[in-house]
């Protein structure tokens, strides 16, 4: 099939065996690529009960049929692994250029297993794949590691993916960095890589995969690239980055404040916004492979104690490390975020953990003795900066903060679970379900724990006929529960598809399901329809769910913390609370999930997943 190499590169770090394997064509037809293919491959090979840090755990890097094509944003890749943070299957996405190089090296999938007996890195230069010593890289930050490896490999075109000290120390929410601070952020993949004694993967590819309708694909891709380049909403993203949310979303109260206890207000959010960033510290904006949007920022702070010249913070970071902690000093948050990137920590989980600790400290559930003298007061920006290193190295109070909100609350007890804002152990991203009700069922059921990228459901609220191709017609105000279960299902399916192709969410804003089908068919020669595409989304969601069910996820886990179901007193979502039970009832019915949260036999059969029924029903 065109658009793929049909090749899986398998590296067993225990045995140092490197093999090339073929991927069956039917897998591309049923799962397309990216996350969906990765989830199928993990399902086939990994026992769900395996500890994420054990040598038996798999770590997959997967590209899609449009990766490295002329389509803008198609340099992304997906990482699939069992998360040490949540104990369930996680897929995480990153941009930049690393995915392009992996595809151009001749592989659709890189599968890593085992554990090296000393620190190593992997280098992939087309067919030449080596496992090399990384002793000299241990302890280096992500940026230092990257620079070191580019020099060592004497190839400026090579791309590096690596972990920082947090990953080496198996911190639960440690991440991976590739290229210039593109992060595989969520779920703790850094620790999984660290547990394998794998510090980095360097890759450079010089081949080009053949597409089915090369010319037509190119024409269509250029058309879509132009749409992305000129859409009015996207223009703002280019000018101000994702930080523009701070400028514009506060009236709706979508931005969480003070550990989700207060409605957002402009005095707090505007000092963290994209406009101020542009006016005071923006050096230039940055784009991933072939991207006509270029949403990322490069910032420079020339004076004071937060001097830096590095990639700037995204909205999620500004929310978690800013408004959630009552810190609205853009320089301090940018600097702390840069440290998180350097040490390899997920900024959402880090900021959320700090905010949770601040509330515990305020409520005297944490004493000065327990914080080792650190004053965890709201707005304390020194804490935000100083704790990064401690968390990464599991030292002092940082060791506790590095456990994440769920585990911290389980240790503290005393009703702290009421304001421990996570779902299935994953800290909630910076969009409030009281502002857009669909976030409620979306977060509660998201396959990797609370996530806004496994279904950006809120963009379908307050919109006329949001996805007519998938029969989502009508108008659904944000503060209504009607049809939100259906919206959640379709938003999740949409994300499964774009994560299988693999393209950026922001580019997909300009696309319809017909556009996605067109791209896949032109790239591969498949003959998918828009409804078939939706079915593939259902299939992957079901398979992910089956894996998670086997890890122990039940209906009771499809929930939100009490804090998110407590009305805010002020702001644009005041006195509004989603009816989660109502939404979940609709969602469960549509998905065909049983009362305990497991996909029904008939729903699995309908999706061609007969082979997994026994795994679920024989237990």
């Amino acid at each position: 099939m065109k658009g793929y190499w049909s090749k899986l590169l398998r590296i067993d770090l225990t045995t140092e065996k490197i093999t090339n394997e073929n991927i069956p064509q039917s897998y591309f037809e049923d799962y397309i690529g990216g996350s969906c293919l990765g989830i199928r491959l993990i399902y086939d090979e990994m026992d769900p009960s395996i500890d994420p840090f054990s040598p038996e755990a798999l770590l997959l890097f997967v590209t899609g049929p449009v990766t490295a094509s002329p389509l803008g944003t198609a340099g992304r890749f997906q990482v699939v692994f069992k998360s040490p943070q949540t104990g369930i299957l996680c897929d995480s996405s990153s941009g930049g250029f690393w995915g392009t190089e992996l595809k151009n090296a001749g592989y659709d999938v890189l599968l890593i297993k085992g554990k090296a007996n000393h620190p190593v890195y992997i280098s992939i230069f087309d067919d030449v794949v080596q496992i090399r010593s990384a002793e000299h890289l241990m302890g280096l930050t992500t940026f230092e590691t990257r620079d070191h490896l580019i020099e060592e490999n004497r190839n400026l075109k090579a791309r590096v993916l690596c972990i920082g000290p947090a990953g080496e120390n198996l911190t639960l929410y440690s991440n991976l960095m590739n290229d210039e601070a593109r992060m595989v952020g969520r779920g703790g993949p850094g620790g999984v890589m660290g547990s394998k004694n794998l510090k980095a993967i360097v890759v450079r590819g010089t081949r080009k995969v053949e597409l089915f309708g090369e010319e037509e694909f190119k024409k269509f891709a250029i058309h879509l690239n132009k749409l992305s380049a000129t859409a009015p909403g996207i223009d703002n993203l280019r000018k101000y980055g994702t930080a523009e949310v701070m400028d514009n979303a506060w009236p709706t109260s979508d931005i969480p404040v003070k550990n989700w206890s207060v409605g957002s207000y402009e005095e707090l959010t505007l000092p963290l916004g994209g406009k101020l960033m542009k006016a005071t510290m923006l050096k230039h904006h940055v784009g991933c492979y072939h991207c006509t949007i270029g949403c990322s920022r490069w910032v420079q702070i020339r004076e004071g104690k937060y001097q830096m010249d590095a990639p700037g913070p995204e909205y999620e970071t500004l929310g978690a490390m800013g408004t959630l902690c009552m810190i609205n000093d853009l320089e301090a948050v940018s600097y702390a975020a840069h440290l998180c990137n350097a040490y390899g920590l997920d900024t959402i989980s880090y900021g959320s953990s700090i905010a949770f600790a601040m509330e515990c400290y305020e409520k005297r559930l944490l004493t000065d003795q327990e914080t080792e003298g650190i004053r965890m007061t709201w707005g304390n920006k020194d804490v935000l900066v100083d704790l990064v290193k401690q968390v990464a190295y599991k030292e002092g109070f940082g060791k506790f903060v590095g456990l994440g909100v769920k585990r911290m609350s389980e240790i503290i007890k005393k009703d702290s679970d009421k304001f421990a804002v996570h779902v299935k152990g994953m800290e909630v991203p910076m969009h409030d379900p009281r502002a857009y009700f669909s976030w409620a069922s979306n977060y509660a059921t998201s396959p990797r724990g609370a996530c806004h990228l496994h279904g950006m459901s809120a963009i379908y609220e307050n919109s006329n006929d949001p996805i007519p191709d998938w029969d989502l017609k009508g108008y659904y105000p944000r503060h209504s529960n009607e049809t939100k279960g259906k919206i959640t299902r379709l938003a999740q399916n949409w994300s499964h598809i774009i994560d299988s192709m693999v393209v950026c969410y922001f580019a997909s804003f300009q696309m319809t399901p017909s556009d996605l089908v067109n791209l896949i068919n032109l790239a591969t020669g498949m003959n998918l329809s828009v409804m078939k595409l939706c079915e593939i989304g259902d299939r992957i969601n079901a398979l992910h769910r089956v894996f998670n069910y086997r890890c122990g996820t039940r209906a009771i886990d499809d929930n939100l913390p009490e804090r998110l179901l407590t009305p805010l007193e002020s702001g644009g979502a005041a006195n509004q609370v989603p009816d989660l039970d109502y939404q979940l009832k609709e969602y469960y019915e549509i998905r065909g999930w049983e009362k305990d949260g497991k996909p029904s036999k008939s729903s699995l059969q309908k999706l061609g997943l007969d082979d997994v029924i026994n795994d679920l029903y024989s237990r």
Binding site: P232, G233, D235, N236, L237, K239, T242, A243, E244, V245, D247, N248, A249, P251, T252, D254, E314, Y315, E316, P429, H431, Y436, H452, L453, M456, A458, I459, E461, N462, S463, N464, P466, Y475, P477, R478, H479, Y505, F506, F509, G572, A574
Partner: protein, 91 residues
């Protein structure tokens, strides 16, 4: 009567303005206001507001005095603050 109107996001960029004071007749509804805006920013506003169908072409949240309003017949009053917000983008 005078009302205030505040644009957010690309609307603000697009129309080149943030907060405006606007004189509107007594009894002006939200729907009337959109027609008025269409007159003021004609070519630009019609890309966002469908004059015939009376709907926003792109998703928008309309708030009056901090509350979401979906009813085009909603009556504006002296000093009303009308806020137009595009959908959230960001991750």
């Amino acid at each position: 009567m005078i009302i205030k109107i505040r644009f957010f996001g690309y609307f603000e960029e697009y129309l080149g303005t943030g907060i405006n004071e606007l004189e509107v007749p007594f009894g002006c509804t939200l729907g009337n206001l959109f027609y008025l805006l269409a007159d003021i920013w004609s070519d630009k506003f019609v890309k966002i507001w469908d004059y015939d169908k009376k709907i926003f072409i792109t998703p928008f949240i309309v708030m009056v005095d901090g509350h979401d309003i979906h009813d085009l017949d909603y009556l504006l009053t002296e000093g009303s603050l009308v806020t137009l917000i595009p959908p959230i983008v960001g991750g």
